[in-house]
C-alpha cells in the first residue's frame, strides 16, 4: 500500500499551526502563569508579592478542609461517572430493542443534552426547593428531612442527581450508536451459543462496546471533575457555606472570590498534575485491555 505523504515539512507545519496556537494561548501560556504564581503570595491588585517557595503547596497538604474537598471530589466523580454511564447504558440497550417509534424515544432521551449546566443547576434548585420542591417532598416521604443548602448530604445528593441527569443523554447517544454498529451476524451467532440475554450482553455485546465505554469513561470523569462547575455553582446559590464542593470549585472560590491568587494557582497546578496522572493511567493500564475492531 502506498503511503500518502507531504513533500516538504512546511505545509504540514503550517496546517498544524492554528491548532498549536490555540493550545499555546489557551493552555500552555495560562498554565505557565499559574505555575509561576503558585510560588508567590501576591496582592490582588498587583502591587506587592513575596516569593514563598513551596509554601502554597505545603499549606494545602496541611489543610483539613482541602482534604475534605478532595475526598468529596473523588466520591462525587465516582458516583457521577458510574451512575451516568450505567443508566445511559441501560437506556441504550432498551432503546436499541424498540422498533416502533424508536426515533421519538431516542429524541426524548437526548433532549436534556441541549441544557446548559447552570440551567440544569437552576432546574435542580426548583426540584429541590426547601418548601415546594417535588424531589424534596419525595425524599421526605421516606423520612429524610431533605434540605438543600442546609444539610451537607442533601446538597451532595442533589449535586449528584442533577449532574447525572445532565450527562445521561451524551452517554446514551454514544452507547446507542456503539450498539448499532455491532454487526448483526455477531449477535445472531451469539444467540445460537448462549440463550441467556444477560450472558450474551456481558460476554459479547459489552466487550464489543468497550472502546465506546472507555472513551466515555474518560469523558465522564473529566465531566464530573470540571464541567459540573455550573451545576455546583447554581446549587450553592452564591454562598459556599457548609456545602460540599469539588476541587475545581475551590480553585474558583479561593482565586476569584477570595482573591488569593497564589493559593488558587497552587491548587490548579495540583489539579493539572492529577489530570495528567489520570490520563497516563487510563491509557497505560485500561486501554491495553481493550480491543478495537
Amino acid at each position: 500500500m502506498k503511503r500518502a505523504g507531504f513533500d516538504t515539512i512546511w505545509l504540514p507545519m503550517a496546517l498544524l499551526i492554528p491548532q498549536l496556537m490555540i493550545i499555546a494561548i489557551f493552555f500552555y501560556w495560562p498554565a505557565g502563569w499559574a505555575l509561576q504564581s503558585s510560588f508567590f503570595l501576591q496582592d490582588p491588585f498587583g502591587f506587592g508579592s513575596t516569593f514563598v517557595g513551596a509554601e502554597n503547596y505545603t499549606s494545602l497538604l496541611g489543610n483539613d478542609q482541602y482534604k475534605r474537598v478532595a475526598g468529596f471530589t473523588i466520591l462525587y466523580s465516582v458516583l457521577v461517572t458510574f451512575f451516568s454511564l450505567a443508566i445511559a447504558l441501560l437506556l441504550a440497550v432498551k432503546a436499541d430493542k424498540v422498533i416502533k417509534g424508536a426515533k421519538t424515544y431516542r429524541t426524548l432521551l437526548m433532549w436534556v443534552y441541549a441544557i446548559a449546566p447552570p440551567v440544569a443547576g437552576f432546574l435542580g434548585i426548583l426540584f429541590f426547593d426547601q418548601s415546594t420542591g417535588p424531589l424534596t417532598k419525595f425524599f421526605q416521604m421516606f423520612g429524610w428531612d431533605f434540605k438543600l443548602g442546609v444539610d451537607y448530604n442533601a446538597t451532595a445528593t442533589a449535586m449528584v442527581i442533577v449532574a447525572v441527569w445532565k450527562q445521561i443523554p451524551v452517554n446514551f447517544i454514544f452507547f446507542l450508536s456503539g450498539l448499532q454498529s455491532i454487526p448483526r451476524s455477531v449477535r445472531e451467532a451469539a444467540m445460537i451459543d448462549n440463550r441467556s440475554a444477560t450472558g450474551r450482553f456481558w460476554q459479547v455485546t459489552f466487550p464489543l462496546l468497550a472502546p465506546t465505554a472507555f472513551f466515555l469513561l474518560i469523558i465522564n470523569i473529566t465531566y464530573a471533575l470540571f464541567d459540573t462547575f455550573g451545576i455546583i455553582d447554581a446549587l450553592m446559590k452564591g454562598e459556599p457555606g457548609n456545602n460540599p464542593m469539588t476541587l475545581v470549585y475551590k480553585v474558583y472560590l479561593d482565586g476569584f472570590r477570595g482573591n488569593d491568587l497564589g493559593g488558587s494557582s497552587a491548587q490548579s497546578v495540583v489539579l493539572m498534575a492529577l489530570v495528567l496522572l489520570l490520563t497516563v493511567f487510563q491509557f497505560r493500564l485500561v486501554e491495553r485491555r481493550i480491543h478495537y475492531t
Binding site: 426547601q130 472560590l253 482573591n259
Partner: protein, 434 residues
C-alpha cells in the same frame, strides 16, 4: 433654501456633539441589583441632570464579590472604572493595596470639596478609614443589622420585641412558639452573630486595634462570650425557637416574609425591599439584642454594606468629576432620597436631620432603628475591623456555623477551627503585602 437648512442642521448637530464631548465622562461599577439598582441609576441621572460638565455612567457588575474581582482584573489591565463599590469584607484588600485608590479625603481636598469627618454619623466615620482615621473609601450603602418583627405575631403572643437575648430566651421566644411561630431566623451569621456581636458588646475582634494598625494581626474570635452565644443559638434551634435555612440571605428572609418566622435579623437596608413586598402583616424593627450577662451598656454596631472607592490612574479632569459626584452624593437631599428608597442609613448628620424634619421617622419608625444603633455609644472596639482575605474568613465562619447547626461539629471545635484557619489566612495576607 433647503440646502441652507441642511447646513444649519448639520452645524447644530456638530455643535451639540462638541458640547457632549466637553463633558467629562466617568464610570461607576456597583453591585446593586433590583430595586437598589434602580435607586443607583436615579442618583446617577439626577447628578447628570444637575450640571453640564460631568457625566457618570453606573454599571452593574453582579454580586459584591464579582464586582471586586472585576475591578481588580480591570485595574491590572489598566481599564479600571473611576468609582468602584467595594463591600465591607473587601475593605482590607482594597485599602491594603496602597496606590490602587485615591483616599477620598485627599480627592475631595485636592478638588476643593469641603470635607469634615465629623459631618458623618458616628458609626460610619472610620469603617473605611486608615489607622490615622483618614477616610479612604466614601461610605455609600451603609447598613447595620437590626431585628425586624411581625407585629401581628408579637401581639398574638402577647410580647414586646426583646431588648436582650436573655429576654428573648426566657420570655419572647417561648411565647411566640406557643402562638405557633418559629421565633427567629437570621440572614448572615458572620456579619450579625460574629462581627456585630463583637461591636455590640464592645469586645475586641482582632489584635492591633481590630487590625487597623498592622497586617500582622490575629483574630480574637475564639472567646467565651461568642461561644456561649452559639451554644445558646444551638439550644434555641433544638427547642424550636430558632431556625436556620442555609447560608443564603434570601432563604432565611423568606420564612419571615411568609409569616412562619416571627422575627428576623436582617439589614437596616432591607427595609425598602420589605415595604415594597407588601407583606401580609404589619412589621416593625428594633435594635440588635445583646446579652446582659456580657454587657449592660450595649455599644454601636459596625456598618455593613459597601463604600465607593476612587480608583487611581485617572486624569485630573476625571478625578475632579469623581469629587464632584461625591459632593452630590453626600448632599443631604441625595442621602435622604437613598435612605427613603432603600433603608440604608443616611451617612451624614445633616441628611439624618433632613429625614427627621421631614417626618420620615414618624411615618416609618423602623427606618430610624439602624441610624440610632449607629449613633449609640461608641467603644474601643466599635470603629470597624480590618482583616485581609476576609471574604475567605467569612466563608470559613459560614462553613463552621453551618456544621454546628446541622450537628456535624460542636461549638468548641468549630471556633478552634475558625481561629486556626483565619489566622493562617491573615498570615498569608501579610505576605501578599510585602
Amino acid at each position: 433654501m433647503t440646502n441652507l437648512k441642511l447646513c444649519a442642521t448639520a452645524a447644530a448637530i456638530a455643535f451639540s456633539a462638541t458640547a457632549a464631548f466637553a463633558e467629562t465622562e466617568i464610570t461607576w461599577w456597583h453591585a446593586m441589583g433590583g430595586q437598589l439598582g434602580e435607586a443607583v441609576n436615579k442618583i446617577a441621572e439626577d447628578f447628570n441632570a444637575s450640571q453640564n460638565d460631568y457625566k457618570i455612567t453606573p454599571v452593574y457588575k453582579g454580586s459584591y464579590e464579582e464586582t471586586l474581582t472585576a475591578g481588580i482584573a480591570a485595574f491590572r489591565a489598566g481599564e479600571q472604572p473611576n468609582v468602584m463599590q467595594v463591600f465591607d469584607a473587601g475593605a482590607a484588600t482594597v485599602i491594603g493595596a496602597k496606590g490602587a485608590t485615591i483616599p477620598v479625603q485627599d480627592l475631595l481636598a485636592d478638588n476643593g470639596v469641603d470635607f469634615d469627618i465629623n459631618d458623618y454619623i458616628a458609626g460610619v466615620r472610620y469603617f473605611y478609614a486608615d489607622s490615622d482615621d483618614k477616610m479612604i473609601g466614601m461610605p455609600f450603602n451603609s447598613s447595620t443589622p437590626i431585628l425586624y418583627y411581625n407585629m401581628d405575631a408579637l401581639e398574638a403572643a402577647g410580647v414586646t420585641p426583646p431588648k436582650t437575648w436573655e429576654e428573648f430566651q426566657s420570655t419572647t421566644a417561648p411565647a411566640l412558639k406557643d402562638a405557633g411561630y418559629i421565633a427567629l431566623s437570621q440572614s448572615h451569621l458572620p456579619w450579625i452573630f460574629t462581627e456585630n456581636f463583637m461591636s455590640r458588646h464592645n469586645l475586641p475582634f482582632a489584635t492591633n486595634n481590630n487590625g487597623y494598625d498592622s497586617t500582622d494581626t490575629q483574630i480574637l474570635v475564639n472567646n467565651d462570650a461568642i461561644k456561649a452565644h452559639f451554644t445558646a443559638v444551638t439550644e434555641w434551634k433544638d427547642n424550636g425557637l430558632f431556625e436556620w435555612y442555609g447560608t443564603g440571605w434570601g432563604d432565611n428572609a423568606k420564612p419571615f416574609e411568609e409569616g412562619k418566622v416571627a422575627m428576623w435579623l436582617g439589614s437596616s437596608g432591607s427595609f425598602g425591599g420589605l415595604l415594597q413586598k407588601d407583606l401580609p402583616f404589619e412589621f416593625s424593627a428594633t435594635e440588635l439584642p445583646y446579652w446582659e450577662a456580657v454587657t449592660t451598656e450595649p455599644t454601636q454596631t459596625f456598618i455593613g454594606g459597601a463604600a465607593l472607592f476612587a480608583m487611581s490612574g485617572k486624569s485630573d479632569a476625571e478625578n475632579k468629576a469623581t469629587a464632584e459626584f461625591f459632593r452630590f452624593l453626600t448632599a443631604p437631599e441625595t442621602q435622604y432620597f437613598w435612605h427613603q428608597e432603600t433603608g440604608y442609613v443616611p451617612i451624614t448628620e445633616a441628611a439624618y436631620d433632613a429625614a427627621k424634619a421631614d417626618g420620615h421617622y414618624d411615618r416609618f419608625p423602623a427606618a430610624e432603628v439602624g441610624v440610632n444603633q449607629l449613633k449609640a455609644k461608641a467603644g474601643d472596639n466599635t470603629k470597624g475591623y480590618r482583616m485581609g482575605f476576609y471574604v475567605q474568613i467569612r466563608d470559613i465562619m459560614n462553613r463552621e456555623y453551618g456544621r454546628i447547626l446541622t450537628g456535624e461539629t460542636d461549638v468548641e471545635t468549630a471556633f478552634k477551627t475558625i481561629e486556626a484557619e483565619a489566622n493562617a489566612l491573615l498570615a498569608r495576607f501579610a505576605k501578599t503585602q510585602g
